[in-house]
Amino acid sequence: MDVELQLTVENLLARYVHALDDDRLEDWPGFFSEKGRYRITTAENYERGLPLSIIYADSRAMLADRVSALRHANIYEAQRYRHTVSSTLVERVGASTARATSNFQAVRIMHTGESMLFASGRYLDRIRLNAKAPCFEEKIVVIDSRSVDTLLAIPL
């Protein structure tokens, strides 16, 4: 096993979920390459080869728009996530690219105190291994359930 690669990827994933859970949404687009793709879909759509996403972006600019909409446009009750990422399998696919598959769970904590398992699923990532900082070229969030409770505001 390439221990250094494994640690590099796990560190990227850890920094990614801490940024979301700490409400540093402005940092979120920076985890992607300029033409980075991000989408959230359901396991059902993914397995049936249906292309619909719950969130779909194909550039860092689209991710930035998502953040500014959440900050300035969309109305939703105050809430946070607590992500747990585990069981990360990493595979090198070239000198500067790796693929990773991880499990994740996100607990959603509402301002009212209600806490629930909001989403579980897989991260299917393609990662560019830059000299300075690795980033996602593609991140597909495949949620296990076809159903989302109330709304999905903060990205997963």
Partner: protein
Amino acid sequence: MSAASESRAWPAEGVTRVPYWVYQDEDIYAREQERIYRGATWNFLGLEAELPDPGDFKTTFVGEMPVVVSRDLQGALRCFENRCAHRGALLCLKGSGNTKEITCIYHNWTYDLEGNLTGVAFRRGVRGLGGMPADARPESEAPRKLRVATFCGLMFATLSEATPSIEQYVGPEVAAKIRRVMKEPVKLLGGYSQALPSNWKLYFENVKDTYHASLLHLFFSTFRLNRLEQKGGVIVGGEGGSHVSFTMMKTDLAGDEYERAGMRSVSGGYRLEAPQMLESVDEFGDGVTLQILTVFPGFVLQQIMNCLAVRQVLPKGVAGTELVWTAFGYVSDDERMTELRLKQSNLVGPAGYISLEDGAATGFVQRGVAGASARASVVEMGGRGVESNESRVTETSVRGLWQQYRRHMGL
């Protein structure tokens, strides 16, 4: 009905007042199942495109009643209760699939794709012992069959013989607007569900409420997708519970009604870094950029620019609703068009830029009225009647919903 709900009398004002017990009362909920979902209404089942081949089936609900929808081996669409004649178990556990017959897993009773009981395991016993009496008629408890109507590739079902044809049910103007969107064979793009923490009627009102659209949803207003001063209108159809509202974009670029009124929903400095998502194609050739259409009690057809979807509104208890979204394009779409539809799907669904708030807003009402079942909401925007209107600063289609609802419920 309990004594408590017999005392439920609708406010004297009529459809301009909606009593909050209507979203809270268990007896009212039970009566809705009987008189609305199992009564003379057309319930949306899904797109025909979900069942293209003989033997295809899906499971869904008519109100709370589980049903199987199938394309039989002759190619006809069928709908029947998902309940075994024997002990009432679900016949079909899968969400969808293809099969020649359906077998109840409990005692292996079998059914054809029309819902007919075709086999009872060990009906004549084993080696002369056991089995059913010769005159037993288990078919008497067979799953009920629903009438199926398809209209422009949309599937509806009703248990009642009294339900008029689907076109008559929605009225000619709403029917024409269904034809407008369902103009050619469709291609499924995918789906998902949203669990809403509110009574089904709060969501159905929300979809019909043209007044809220540009006030709650800032994304709309800022990018002039649906400004009330834009050209558009509301058409109320059928018994009142079906409607269509529409907007023609890019007709008001000088409009400043919102800015002058100082509404929260206008934010001057907000700009998209990647506005390409909103570059839509006028594929209907009529300039209408947004059309929202409903059919009582639980169907929504949506065209938001090039983002097309159907939504099925399913009651899940007094304070819960499942909203089933299915997005589609046309078989004739090229790759670029599909990509545009997929990008614009960011506008809708549980994370939709212009629908995200709806999931929460209806829940705010459910929570807000918890201690006020004897009070009522005020529905007087645009007058007190139920009629089509050129303005969308109106609640006419919300009043239309209550008109049809009260008629079915005898309230």
